[in-house]
Symmetry: D2
Subunit: 361 residues, 4 copies
């Protein structure tokens, strides 16, 4: 059903390409942190992530609902950056398909044996066409089930990884790549000229991956699901209690896109994470796309609160297959924040718009 980008089936959009791997969901991310002890304090002690495994130079973390080994690997390194974004595929067959598929796209790939990434089976690692490292895996260890261990819950009570949000200089190109992988489209921010941002899914939620137009490839944020809004508020309260409120970058607020209640935090290395609650079912084959006008001030915050400029400008560098930081390409399309969104032009319509104004706070 190539005409319907919303249909989350492995599609074969380009007849030249081999079959696509059947991706199940976004599953984990790797963040390189410059001080693992400090990162542990943030992610484990404050935010309450569960430690599945711990090594001298790496931590394997998961949310309380996650039934596989990890949602997040924190790895010590000299430069803060994002490593591989991990996607679960349906079966080992999909790993073979992944190798063929990425090779046909001209992407470098690597096969890692089971256990090369702790807790996971064999992995196909690729530099995807957008410049991100991706890990595809078909099996994972199941640690102790903690879903109902309310006695252990702390911090934001994160349930599981929900999505990756990536900065790309060309949103339509990112869309085409992920649509080719069978991702459905749930929401966009757009105008008659272009698509500024898009949300795409394999699992039956609003997204597994979203694109924010900007210099890229960079990781904008990791989205983690929590069950109720009070968990988001509590996380902010805890940070305030410890005079660590500077970790709160944006929010809490209600997204227009996705309708989720959110807050964005920055970890000690500046990596951004979102605590994200509420969502909606997207599993119907004809799931309709919700298209937001870039002029609607509610698209990024349903309550009209201005977006912090750093939220548009900052993101994490990403690594290539050799572990080097990928060079970044500037935005190749119109920038969302110059076209009057988020109340920026509305505050001073006479002023010539040369770039994103900061909203006075």
């Amino acid at each position: 059903m190539p005409a319907d980008p919303a249909r989350p089936q492995p599609a074969q959009l380009n007849p030249v390409l081999p079959p696509v791997p059947d991706i199940v969901r976004s599953a984990y991310a790797t963040l390189v942190v410059t001080d693992l002890a400090e990162a542990r304090r943030f992610w484990v002690d404050l935010l309450g992530f569960v430690v599945t495994a711990e090594e001298p130079a790496a931590l394997y973390l998961r949310g309380y609902d996650e039934l596989t080994h990890h949602n997040l690997i924190l790895r010590a390194g000299p430069v803060a950056a994002a490593g591989a974004l991990g996607f679960r595929v349906r079966s080992p067959l999909d790993l073979d398909r992944a190798v063929d598929y990425y090779k046909a796209l001209g992407c470098r790939t690597q096969r890692l044996p089971a256990g090369a990434v702790r807790g996971l089976g064999e992995i196909v690692r690729a530099e995807d066409p957008l410049g991100f490292l991706v890990d595809l895996f078909a099996s994972a260890e199941h640690p102790e089930r903690l879903q109902q261990r309310y006695d252990l819950r702390r911090g934001a009570e994160v349930a599981r990884l929900d999505h990756f949000n990536i900065c790309v200089p060309d949103v339509p190109r990112a869309y085409d790549y992920y649509a080719g992988l069978g991702f459905g489209l749930s929401e966009t921010i757009e105008d008659e000229r272009c698509v500024y941002a898009a949300w795409m899914y394999r699992k039956q939620t609003v997204h597994d991956v979203a694109f924010t137009g900007g210099a890229g490839p960079r990781l904008h944020h990791l989205g983690f699901f929590a069950h109720e809004a009070h968990s988001v508020l509590r996380m902010c309260d805890i940070l305030g209690s410890l005079s660590l409120e500077a970790h709160i970058e944006r929010g809490p607020g209600r997204h227009g896109v996705s309708n989720a209640f959110y807050v964005y935090l920055r970890d000690p290395d500046g990596h951004r994470m979102e605590i994200y609650t509420s969502d909606y079912y997207t599993g119907d084959p004809d799931h309709p796309v919700l298209r937001w006008s870039v002029l609607d001030p509610r698209r990024r915050d349903f309550w009209g609160n201005a977006v912090i400029p750093s939220w548009y400008s900052d993101a994490s560098a990403v690594l290539d297959l050799d572990g080097a930081v990928r060079p970044v390409t500037d935005l190749a399309q119109a920038a969302e924040v110059t076209v009057g969104a988020d109340g920026f032009t509305a505050k001073n319509p006479a002023a010539p718009q040369q770039g994103p104004q900061q909203a006075p706070r």
Copy 2:
């Protein structure tokens, strides 16, 4: 992967049978009510369901997140009963498969043209092997999207239909039938002798259908999803305000099974509905089954509160293809409530005790 009943793929367990239709999710139910005006007061005025369409003898209702025509049809009739349980299938091809499949099972089927059920495309209606009427459909109208119309929300702020819970005299038989249709298994209540209840899914939640051992075929309840626990509390408060608290049959409470926060209400005809919040992702191909011991007092209520006897005994009659009430077969297996859980043996001290008593309270 036929050995793993948890895998929610259309499976082909029995090589004699034709291909199974690809069921996407539980989508709607039909309830016959004896006083449509009174039912409207309950479902619409009190509970806050959205009216998509209204006819002299029928109401088409949906939750605020539902993007298709309806989750519930209330139809006026002489005897309170449950009509067809509606499942969305992936494509029109699945309708043809459904006809062949049910015929191969020896079940009566019927094809209804598009519009025969308002808002839906063509339907295959069948008397399934368990004695329930099911409607399979591949397309539906999309009414106005109300997900973010917080100004309209009232009552329990129901988001969408989540699941059907059906009373069956033989739980393993129900399991086999739904496993054959590719439903995954998320949780059970069991002991070494038998499975007393099971929860199965196609969409990536804990269930689309669950089986409660008991005289059947009967509809135990319809489960509707709400986003946060305070919506459940608010619904109870509203009923108390109006001295209609007798509609609250059981709860609120936390389920052990599914981990959801719940309340059970009875409508004016005695049809039971659940408001259900929280849930967890079940989309991984190797999603592990959670098996509860029938002796664990937390399985039905995580806080150990006793289950009201009517919750075990009462359920809605179901109709056959001719509109007649189906005769009921008594429980063919051991009953969950005779083995000492939920404090019920205490109500019948003469009954022999086959299992440990509830923890003293």
Copy 3:
């Protein structure tokens, strides 16, 4: 304004009596526990009370909002019982008044020097006319303010002591005594024959003390305030996580009386405590009394859920000035639970029915 019992001013109802002490609020209670380590696990580790001070045979606990030394003393002893109920008075002058007042009532009193109860100034301890030990004090130490230490909060996140609920065999007599001390009346459960229960206050909430008709003097429960309903749910979830759900005696639910959301827990010695959220302002001099009919099934639970029989029957013994357990007098008036409410008559079908049955469920 002696004609208005709702007015929370120190009144002089009986011209023969000396001036009454100006009681500010219920402040703390003492519970004798038979295993202090086990009590610590319950109150501190599970419920999350803050430990202000610890001695080999006593723990001084407070809620996160409490700005004085303690809300609860757990004292090791051979027999589980309730010790003194502590009331804050406005000034040292009120201590002298208390001595004269209780002597005029024929009650034994004792003066304890500052520090005799850790963290408190001088105390007047009396055996009040209802048979309870009361501690009146005018000053207390202020420990570190923890109201905004969200990083420390655990368990039920109890804010402060809210009230004492006591079992008395003669509710009107208890009312008269507390009205004489200037307590206002907020709510009652009554019929044309008698008052079955009453709620009275000095601080501007629904109550500092409430009377449950029953064998007495006994302590029915200590009520602790929490800020939001989700804290109550969380406490239950934690207990379920640890298979300690048997500590949950009743609820959660919404009270008709007081409109609070509640749960009742029993500690390892059987002492009952309530986590209580929501409340309303009672500070106006003409605050109107809300009188509930004993026949209204919503009075004890606004959602009509039946009250667990143990909630009516069980309570903690209380100590006298010599540390001996007080003998108990049986209920001297009509019992609330024999008049057809809460479904309890069904449990005792031999009892004559004096009122309407519970609404059919």
Copy 4:
């Protein structure tokens, strides 16, 4: 007890002055609105205030918990302004005291007979020394009790008026005046040079009145209490649903001062209101004052979010006894926002920096 400003007893600080009236609490406010129909849509239809009474040119509104006639009068007039701030006093005797007291302070006063303000008994209206109109009254009608009419609740589900926040050019002078009336002090924002803001109470909450340093006399906002944080979020969601998010001026957020969860809205005339949840008990005679450094970025928002400039600059004009708009005096003391908090110095880099910068974000 003149040495302790926190003690909320009617004090007699100045021996020259006659006895002060015994103020019980802040009770209601009058807002002059330029379009009563539009104001009704905002306050009643959107926010959900209860209409006690309605006249062609005035609306009498209350929260769901309020047991007296009104918390807010909306009165049609040619210029948006704040009319009288209403305080409940304990008894009719206090009205006589009020007349003598204000006369001794050189303030104009007026006696209004019962019913002159609908729903209230006799009123003493004064132009207080700070330039605000105040109404003191000792009795009020009690309309139908709606505390448990959850079926009626809409919008923000406001419970009652909580406080007045007023702009005054000289905060210490405002403090002295209210301390003279026996108001206790709960919290301040200050440095070694001056007090920038203060919170004072008669009822046992954080405040009945607060002072924001700025041009005055002006009404900064009316604070209304709601029971839980989700009511605040819901109100914002409703406004977003209707594209009325521009009414949300600041928040939601957690206050450092008071620890309340808040949002500030502006009505169609620009009058500011706060929905305010959580609070703490202040009724102890030695209630300790919490003093915030003006340099603490958490004082105004515990999560460090910057305060919108309009929140500091905008406020409602107030009327005098003749109905004329009072002239405004500029800030006579140091301004809170020039000393480096809230990120505002960054907006005015030419201003000398007298304190530490905001924590880098």
